[in-house]
């Protein structure tokens, strides 16, 4: 079920009614769990079994780990969890990719091998809930948390519908304790939650789908070499689309959870106002980058094993992060580029970080623009389905095709330019302040007016209910 659908509106209204009815807390939690399964099963009912499998195995694995001090047994149960979770993820997400690459290698060796095409459907959100459940077992193993007190609380942690299919990826310490005692939103939380839901849907439906997606689709779908302006507009449009699509989902998820009385962590904070790439990753998909940092980069040794190992660890982390997004070498290239950027930034900071001029506002601005430019280049690999398409677009963006096709009408160029100027401007101006702080300082009439405009534009924007891009990851 999509947040940006009419059916979700009815579903959520019914669920809110049940959640605020005078029922025992345990019954309300059971309602939430059942609703979460319905929410997930609405896409493809059989895949609920995967959720159950993951839930049951991680529940017992974590319990067994916590019941013994014997390192071997603890490791054994940790591996049971890892193998199951990553095994399912690998099969469903990377099975075809691995087979394609294996076939290519074998054929390159001169062996005539053509396997039957695998017919694998990717269970929606599997990358998200796999990481979330693994975090639970890993935290118990690392003694960061105790096992959940009740199976119901743990099942709800794995399945909680607002963030189940596209994040934020929540840690057990953040969510499981919230299920232990009765939670209901007060009027302030309920209204702010609805406000965030409106904002998230506006980002997705109006900005991503209506203002930007058409341009991005036209440019990335074009088979011709494009004029520089068209290439740039397409890449800028996708930069905005991917942000609003994903951040919109996270904002809506946070709002929905808040309406029910639960707090979810921030997942984005003005990433296009970032100065440098480590700053970018503190603002972009925050819950994934912190997951990769805590469960991959640091266990690999982080920056504790010398300069060379630090760069190697960064590259491993970012390449795997790229692969997490999709089973294609273009995603690997996207992750690798970010690894290179982060490594280069460490070098540059070593040279210039301590210089007084490095913190001058104009220098900060130049670094911010440079960061945005380099991030935009990475989106080319993220969106393009082949390296030749990515190369063609990068060439167009840098003036190699002055006679390239001009496929964008003026209307779309203006829409993209205006939208992206506003978006980057807002990210820059709000880079050190929260949305909550901005709203707290704004007059009530202005908040009401902005909310009305967002809501009305959602109503007149009714469309085909496009799926969120990150659902496929």
């Amino acid at each position: 079920m999509l947040f940006n659908s009419l059916s979700f509106f009815f579903f959520f209204a019914l669920l809110l009614g049940l959640h605020y009815a005078p029922l025992p807390w345990r019954v309300k939690k059971a309602n939430l769990l059942l609703a979460s399964y319905i929410f997930y099963a609405a896409w493809n009912p059989p895949f609920v079994v995967l959720l159950w499998l993951s839930t049951v195995v991680d529940w017992f694995a974590a319990k067994k780990i916590s019941q013994t001090e014997e390192p071997g047994r603890r490791r054994l149960f940790l591996w049971v969890s890892i193998v199951l979770n990553l095994g399912l993820l690998s099969y469903f997400k990377y099975g075809k990719f691995l087979l394609d690459n294996f076939t290519a290698i074998v054929q390159a060796a001169g062996i005539d091998y053509q396997p039957a095409a695998p017919d694998i459907i990717l269970p929606i959100g599997i990358s998200f809930y796999t990481f979330q459940t693994m975090a639970y077992t890993l935290d118990v193993y690392l003694r960061q948390t105790k096992p959940a007190g009740s199976f119901l609380d743990f099942a709800l942690f794995v399945t909680f519908f607002p963030q189940l299919v596209a994040g934020p990826i929540v840690r057990p310490t953040e969510l499981v304790p919230q299920f232990e005692t009765p939670k209901q939103a007060n009027l302030q939380q309920l209204m702010w939650g609805l406000g965030l839901l409106t904002l998230g849907l506006f980002q997705k439906m109006v900005v991503a789908d209506t203002l930007l997606s058409k341009t991005s689709d036209m440019v990335f779908g074009s088979e011709q070499a494009l004029h520089g302006l068209d290439a740039w507009m397409g890449v800028l449009a996708f930069s905005g689309q991917i942000f609003c699509d994903f951040a919109g989902y996270s904002t809506a998820a946070i709002g929905i959870a808040l309406c029910l009385g639960f707090a979810l962590p921030e997942n984005f904070h003005c990433p296009y106002g970032a100065v440098g790439f480590s700053d970018f990753w503190r603002r972009w998909h925050i819950t994934l980058s912190s997951w990769l940092r805590d469960y991959l980069y640091i266990p690999l040794g982080g920056n504790r094993l010398g300069a060379t190992r630090t760069y190697v660890n960064l590259m491993i982390t970012m390449v795997l992060g790229g692969l997490w997004h999709g089973a294609n070498w273009t995603f690997v290239a996207w992750g690798a580029l970010h690894g290179v950027y982060l490594s280069a930034e460490r070098v540059v900071r070593g040279w210039w970080g301590h210089k007084p001029w490095a913190s001058f506002p104009i220098v900060t601005m130049v670094f911010a623009v440079g960061t945005f430019y380099l991030i935009a280049l990475t989106w080319v690999f993220f969106r393009a389905t082949t390296f030749s398409k990515a190369g063609q677009l990068l060439a167009s963006m840098h003036g190699w095709h002055p006679e390239g096709a001009q496929i964008l009408p003026t209307t779309q160029i203006i829409l993209v330019a205006a939208t992206m100027t506003a978006m980057v401007g807002m990210h820059w101006s709000m880079r050190n302040v929260t949305l909550e702080a901005v709203v707290s300082r704004s007059p009530a009439w202005l908040v009401a007016a902005v909310w009305s405009v967002l809501l009305f534009s959602l109503i007149i924007n009714q469309g085909g209910g496009n799926a969120f891009i990150y659902f496929q990851f």
Partner: protein, 380 residues
């Protein structure tokens, strides 16, 4: 800067909420939005829009689901938009005395993947009426028309979420005009803004604007504006004739407009070779259709092809690109399936087609009445 924190006393993760008079803010926003939406609805009603059901993959799938277990008493209609506009379902029922009717045509799509699906994936053995629009039916792409195959795939993978969304939309569509997903979608309204383009700008081709109001059972009734607004009807004719004016995937808008104008005036080129069959391709095309129609008839089903009217330069373009002898006549001959072509029956002629392709709403019932009699007679 985080807008969330751990509460140090309870160790619970919490989110900050801006301290504003939220009750008042919410009430004002609600009232403003209700008033604005009411104004929006009234504005579009004033522009001649009426509530209409959307023609979506899910609305098609709903009726395809009915066809899955339809008994031999059922009649299923499939084809392209001409079947949706020209066959008036209530008139058909009255004329044939048979209430069991399912409309599975789809605008802009070839019926062949749908026929194949019905033959291969159901046990249906009732009556199947296949409407033929030459440009879509006798095209190289028709056997694997992506729109039609997409519909079939949508039905077979129709998820509970899509079903729920369909039923939720059905609650809104008969009441409100502004929920129409085609013409009144914000994205389409923005794209309608005309601005001067760069001299070397290359455009894609026109989308089809609103032509009909659709009923709950997927019948299209021509929108009154197509009949009364001659400029609008001319625009639609230009879009149909534009299919012959295309010279590549993209064209300069001015070149395309002038070629379309020439085509509307009768100086058209036949449909491009990527659409038309070579004789060898045509034979294997007919043989494949025959294999399905034979299979369908062997299990007791009755099938008939119909060719609804077209008019003006569009009719001439269709005749030039898809000569009747090589297409329609050959189809009937090779498959052995009966057919009704409007040219052969005076009672199917003389109706008004404002944009050359579809009957105006008032003319659909008398056309249907005559067609139903002919079909019943042909299948007797």
């Amino acid at each position: 800067m985080h807008s969330y924190t751990f509460n140090s006393k309870t160790e619970l993760f919490e989110r900050g909420v801006p301290k504003r008079p939220w009750g008042r803010i919410g009430l004002i926003a609600f009232l403003v939005v209700v008033a604005a939406t009411a104004g929006w609805e009234l504005y579009w009603r004033g522009q001649g829009y009426e509530p209409s059901y959307d023609s979506t993959d899910s609305s098609w799938s709903e009726f395809r689901a009915k066809a899955q277990n339809a008994g031999p008493e059922y009649t299923i209609i499939t084809g392209s938009s001409r079947a949706l506009f020209d066959i008036d379902l209530p008139t058909w029922r009255t004329e044939t005395g048979n209430e069991h009717l399912i409309q599975l045509a789809k605008e802009g799509a070839s019926p062949l993947p749908i026929v194949r699906d019905l033959v291969q994936n159901t046990n249906f053995s009732g009556t199947l009426i296949v409407s033929v629009a030459p440009g879509l039916f006798f095209s190289k792409r028709s056997m694997h028309d992506s729109d039609a195959e997409g519909l079939v795939k949508h039905y077979h993978n129709w998820s509970p979420a899509q079903k729920m969304e369909h039923w939720a939309n059905l609650l809104m569509e008969p009441t409100f005009v502004f929920v129409e997903k085609g013409a009144l979608n914000l994205g389409n309204l923005l794209q309608e803004m005309e601005m001067p383009n760069r001299p070397n700008y290359l455009a894609g081709y026109d989308g089809v604007p609103k032509l009909s109001n659709d009923t709950r059972e997927r019948q299209a009734r021509m929108w009154s504006k197509v009949v009364t607004d001659t400029a609008y009807a001319r625009r639609v004719r230009g879009i149909w004739m534009g299919f012959s004016a295309r010279t590549g995937p993209l064209m300069r808008p001015a070149d395309y407009a002038s070629k379309k104008a020439e085509a509307v005036a009768g100086q058209f080129m036949p449909m491009p070779p990527f659409i038309r069959f070579t004789p060898g391709e045509r034979d294997s095309f007919f043989m494949e259709i025959k294999s399905w129609t034979d299979q369908f008839r062997q299990r007791g089903g009755k099938i008939i092809f119909i060719r609804p009217p077209s008019a003006g330069m569009l009719y001439k373009l269709e005749e030039q690109s898809f000569p009747r002898k090589e297409t329609w006549d050959a189809l009937l001959e090779k498959t052995g399936v009966p057919g009704i072509h409007f040219e052969d029956h005076p009672e199917l002629q003389g109706f008004e087609l404002p944009e050359w392709s579809h009957l105006r709403a008032e003319h659909a019932p008398p056309f249907t009445k005559a067609l139903a009699r002919l079909v019943v007679s042909a299948l007797r």
